[in-house]
């Protein structure tokens, strides 16, 4: 998935916050270009997937929740005026749909503090040991965070930088509060990671 770990510049695939590209696609999609809408789906679905999963939905329902948000968008595109508003709209709807679906998912199946259907962070057979080890230690540090911090950082990590303010409402955080909350959560995580002698976080 990620082959250039050492320089830290290509983690997680697509660059975050390619707003010019998104803006062009957004305009085309608003003009009825469904292929442009498909390309927007490619860019924003990784974020929406994490939003749905962070609500505790299983994988099948999470996929349906994300699809539902995109289908509902067909009727609302005309009311959305900026790519940032689009991201916030999709996050809000995905979250709302995921909440509604939670009530249909038996409580026993709800994913708790630790999703039990994520893959094991242990190394895969073809994986370089250093990357796997780094992931195991990062996973351990993330799991020592509070539930709220873990879920916030999980979603925020997929949000392009300029969208933070717009996304705060979508995450039920008043504007002006997501910054401090995120700051506290990040500070907790950094402290854990920097205390980790084995790691190379600096």
């Amino acid at each position: 998935m990620c082959s250039t770990r050492s320089d830290g510049r290509h983690l997680g695939g697509k660059p975050l916050g390619d707003h010019e590209g998104l803006a062009v696609l957004f305009e085309a999609a608003r003009d009825g270009d469904r292929r442009a809408l498909g390309r927007l789906a490619e860019a924003l679905t990784p974020l929406l997937w994490q939003v749905a999963r962070a609500q505790g939905l299983d994988r099948e329902r999470s996929a349906d929740a994300v699809q539902t948000a995109w289908l509902r968008l067909l009727g609302s595109l005309a009311d959305i005026h900026t790519p940032r508003a689009l991201t916030a709209w999709l996050v809000t709807v995905t979250k709302r749909v995921a909440w509604a679906m939670r009530t249909e998912q038996r409580s026993g199946e709800l994913v708790g503090a630790l999703p039990d259907d994520v893959v094991d962070p242990a190394p895969g057979p073809d994986e370089q040991a250093a990357f796997a080890d780094r992931r195991v230690r990062l996973w351990a540090a993330v799991n020592r965070l509070s539930h709220r911090c873990r879920e916030l950082l999980r979603v925020i990590a997929f949000v392009p930088r300029p969208d933070y303010a717009d996304i705060s409402a979508a995450l039920d955080m008043p504007r002006g509060s997501i910054g401090p909350t995120r700051g506290r959560c990040l500070a907790q995580l950094r402290k854990q990671l920097l205390a980790d002698d084995e790691g190379s976080w600096r």
Binding site: M1, C2, G8, L11, G12, G13, L16, R34, L37, G38, A41, E42, T45, P46, W49, R53, R59, E60, R61, A63, D64, V66, Q67, T68, W70, L71, R72, L73, L74, G75, M101, E104, P115, V118, V119, R135, L138, W139, V142, L153, R154, I156, A157, F158, R161, Y164, A165, S168, R175, G176, S177, I178, G179, P180, G183, R184, L186, L189, R190, W201
Partner: protein
């Protein structure tokens, strides 16, 4: 460290914050990635020509093994605000599927099954029943167009 991010007094990210967030993103992408075909399913779904779409939820999805072992069927139940429906999808053994459906409340609504090979259309009868004989394997999206309404009722894209 300056703290002048407009979204909060402590909101300014430094380089290490940015790196940590990228690592967190990488962690979740590797531990809990979106299904590989999700974007393709969404792309297929949004090519729907309708603009007002009510999306039904999958309430139940049962797989039934046939008596002879070679026949495999699925019973899928969908619920929405306008119409609920159930489909029984049966493999025909030649790579295509037969679909029998029931709408509730029963009404002779138009039914479209979108497939990568193009849409298949039929109409439910007065009892809300419909059937389509040869649906190719691959993506499928059920779309009901209730009489007298402008919005369509659609399922998410599924794979047969």
């Amino acid at each position: 460290m300056s703290r002048d991010d407009p979204d909060g007094p402590l909101g300014k990210l430094d380089d290490l914050d940015g790196r940590v967030l990228r690592e967190v993103r990488w962690l979740w992408e590797s531990l809990d990635p979106a299904p590989a075909d999700l974007v393709d399913r969404i792309r297929f779904a949004v090519e729907l020509e309708d603009s007002e779409v009510e999306v039904v939820r999958v309430i139940e999805h049962r797989e039934v093994a046939g008596v002879r072992g070679d026949v495999h069927s699925r019973m899928i139940t969908f619920a929405g605000g306008t119409v609920d429906f159930m489909v029984n999808v049966q493999a025909r053994g030649d790579g295509t599927y037969r679909v029998d459906g029931w709408l509730s409340p029963p009404a002779p609504h138009e039914v479209e099954v979108r497939t990568p090979a193009g849409p298949l259309r039929t109409s439910a009868n007065e009892d809300g029943r419909f059937a389509l004989g040869r649906i190719p394997s691959g993506f499928v999206q059920f779309v009901i167009r209730p009489r007298g309404r402008t919005s369509a009722v659609s399922t998410p894209t599924m794979t047969l």
